[in-house]
């Protein structure tokens, strides 16, 4: 059967099970958009390409499926760049299709030409420039395979316009065929045995779980492992939800804004079992002083993550789910009674806290109320900054894929479009974007997308009038010289702004109105913008100053 390149693209996407595409049109993708006009795939038109790529990312994180976005050449493609880098840093499966100028024009500074494979090379798992129409179907097959297997990531397919117009015989390949790409799923049984032995012999073990546990759908295995061995679990930011934070073995999050008890436990530990986490600098603090007494077991599917930042004693390369299952089959519990008592003391003496006795609205209070109102069943998406850290600290995550946040890249403007993608993937879920007044303005135009698609996404702006997280650093380390971090004066009226887009806006400036507003937002079948006027100079604590050991926290208490 002969089909045009554009038809081949869409047919191939259907074969991959794609049911939704986020995209924005333009000259070089006109042939593809013409096919989309009567294709069964749902299409979401954002108001900026960055909205498309973050929405595809949010959809992927919430559902576990590959997120797909499409943009035109030149500015359309460059507008995707931040979102591709965001997905890359957090290992999110994504396929981004970009139009390119026709082959005869490539390299001529043609209208809307940009070297997209060059630009995205270091921020994507792989990319392709498709030079022949008969390579299109195979390329798409390989791209999806690469995006979703091994350590997942974004794959970019750059397609010249003339390639989408030419015709080729179409037959979708049954399997991807890439001889040089064979991720290791099955972990080495000898290493598993060594790990089990080290666990049995440990006295102060800690499990340090990351986003890899969620990606490999290994939360149940992780919980079984922790319960079987009676070992406490701390998670990274991206690992939130991998282990129930309501569980008595949970230490919540570790690292720069982690709990004091998680950080103390890591520093005193004699065995760290890292699962799908990568010893990021926000987690380890000062590397030379990180966990000085601990042996390290590291389970990761990406060999280049192992022994990258810290020396690993027992590396286990493989899929987290498989490795944990194998461990669960043979592992024997060490005696952690004394250790858990010590941890209980830390928990008692240094809980997460904030001043609850105020008339003003504390941002932490808002997050707690969202938790209470949703009983922990919502999908929480965040922007970046203090709002992100409070969302991480004061909501208790109990299920995987319920906390979506740009961890590795820390992209302001990620949250709202990602929430749109998550809501489209999971229409029955309550979705909250916990936002800052700064971040929300980076992709505020997506209010139109959410309204027109009738998505009941809730945005909770923790409005502190500042680029709060930067202001906090200026307060603590730059003598309160608030250089260009104040947003007051230029801030729009978020209630009117919401209304202008056809959404609902609610301003909350009294503590007693917080809960009612949240309940109302949940009950409202439209986009709701909640503008919480919170304490301006509230800080995120505990805090490990950059370059310090993680037990040297500011306000970590006893």
């Amino acid at each position: 059967m002969k089909l045009s390149g554009a038809k081949i693209v869409i047919e191939s996407l259907i074969k991959e099970g794609v049911d939704i595409i986020f995209g924005y049109p333009g000259g070089t993708v006109l042939p593809i958009f013409d096919v989309l006009y009567d294709s069964p795939i749902k299409f979401i038109l954002p108001r900026h390409e960055q909205g498309a790529v973050h929405a595809a990312d949010g959809y992927a994180r919430a559902t576990g499926k590959v997120g797909v976005c499409i943009a035109t050449s030149g500015p359309g493609a460059t507008n995707l760049v931040t979102g591709i880098a965001t997905a890359y840093m957090d290992s999110i499966p994504m396929v981004a299709i970009t139009g390119q100028v026709s082959r005869s024009l490539i390299g001529n500074d043609a209208f809307q030409e940009a070297d997209v494979t060059g630009i995205t090379r270091p921020i994507s798992k792989h990319n392709y420039l498709v030079k022949e129409v008969d390579e299109l179907a195979g390329t798409i097959k390989d791209a999806f395979h690469i995006a979703r297997t091994g350590r997942p990531g974004p794959v970019v397919i750059d397609i010249p316009k003339d390639v989408t117009v030419l015709e080729a015989d179409y037959e979708y390949p049954k399997e991807a065929n890439i001889r040089s790409y064979n991720p290791t799923y099955i972990s080495h049984p000898g290493q598993i045995k060594k790990a089990a032995k080290a666990i049995k012999e440990s006295k102060r073990p800690v499990i340090y779980a990351g986003g890899g546990v969620i990606i490999s759908n290994a939360s149940d295995e992780l919980t079984e492992f922790a319960e079987k061995t009676n070992i406490p679990v701390t998670t990274t930011l991206l690992g939130l939800g991998a282990f129930p934070e309501t569980h008595h073995l949970s230490l919540m999050m570790l690292g720069m804004h982690g709990t004091a008890y998680a950080n103390h436990a890591i520093m005193e530990s004699d065995l760290i079992i890292a699962v799908g986490s990568r010893f990021d600098d926000r987690v380890t603090g000062k590397l030379d002083e990180f966990a000085p007494h601990a042996k390290i077991i590291h389970i990761d599917i990406d060999p280049s993550s192992v022994s990258k930042n810290v020396h690993v004693d027992i590396p286990i390369v493989g899929d987290a789910k498989h490795a944990l299952r194998s461990l669960n089959n043979i592992v024997k519990a060490p005696d952690t009674k004394e250790w858990l008592e010590q941890i209980a003391k830390w928990k008692k003496n240094s809980p997460l806290r904030y001043n609850r006795d105020t008339d003003s609205i504390k941002p932490q209070y808002v997050v707690e109320q969202i938790y209470e109102a949703t009983k922990g069943n919502a999908i929480i998406v965040t922007e970046v900054g203090q709002n992100q850290m409070w969302a991480a600290q004061f909501y208790k995550y109990t299920k995987p894929r319920t906390f979506l946040s740009s961890g590795g890249l820390g992209t302001m403007g990620y949250g709202f479009p990602s929430a749109i993608g998550a809501q489209l993937g999971l229409p029955d879920k309550v979705v909250f974007d916990i936002a800052g007044d700064g971040s929300i303005q980076m992709n505020i135009q997506e209010l139109a997308t959410a309204v027109v698609n009738k998505l009941p996404v809730n945005i909770a702006i923790l409005n502190n009038g500042y680029l709060g997280m930067v202001r906090q650093w200026q307060e603590l380390f730059y003598e309160k010289r608030y250089s260009h971090t104040c947003l007051k004066g230029g801030c729009p009226d978020f209630v009117k702004l919401a209304e202008a887009y056809g959404a609902v806006g609610i301003r909350v400036d009294k503590k007693e109105d917080v809960r009612a507003a949240i309940d109302k937002a949940i009950a409202t079948d439209n986009v709701v913008v909640l503008d919480f006027v919170v304490d301006e100079e509230e800080n995120v604590f505990p805090m490990v100053p950059a370059g310090k050991a993680i037990n040297k926290m500011i306000d970590g208490m006893a």
Partner: protein, 156 residues
């Protein structure tokens, strides 16, 4: 420490940029780079000579392995191997010095491939110490122009 890293890759466009990008992104200067087809024409071999911190290079090698188009990565450091480089260069001579130049070249197994009254064009092959010794021996002559292929390496 100096490393000779040999990378077998898919013989496709764009692969060289992916490989070299991993070095340039870390601010590593590549001393030499030689690329060519192997016994299998669908596979190219890139031989990269680079100086750098061992730990960082260990990471670079893992990252190289992670590239989709990379088939295998070998580092010859601390491994028995041979390595060779081809040089083509011109030296200035006159009637009097030419015989001496030719004798010296012969001693190092180098060939004078072309000559005019004042210039001899030479091809020379060898490992780094051989090449160094030859260039030492030619010190008295003016090297007018030189190109080098970069080293390639192989182990038994």
């Amino acid at each position: 420490m100096k490393h000779i890293i040999s990378v077998a890759v898919e013989n496709k466009f764009g692969v060289l940029a992916r490989v070299s990008g991993l070095f340039s992104a870390r601010g590593f200067n590549i001393d030499s780079l030689a690329v060519g087809e192997t016994e299998d024409p669908t596979i190219s071999c890139m031989t990269i000579v680079v100086k750098g911190d061992d730990k960082i290079l260990e990471q670079v090698k893992k990252q190289l392995n992670k590239l989709i188009d990379v088939i295998s990565v070998k580092d010859f450091v601390n491994k028995e191997h041979i390595d060779r480089e081809l040089l083509v260069f011109k030296i200035g001579v006159d009637k009097k010095t030419k015989p001496k130049a030719l004798r010296t070249l012969k001693r190092f197994g180098a060939n004078a491939i072309k000559a005019s009254a004042d210039t001899v064009m030479v091809e020379a092959v060898g490992d780094p110490s051989h090449i160094l010794k030859m260039l030492e021996a030619l010190k008295g002559f003016k090297v007018k122009e030189m190109v080098r292929t970069g080293r390639i390496a192989m182990a038994l």
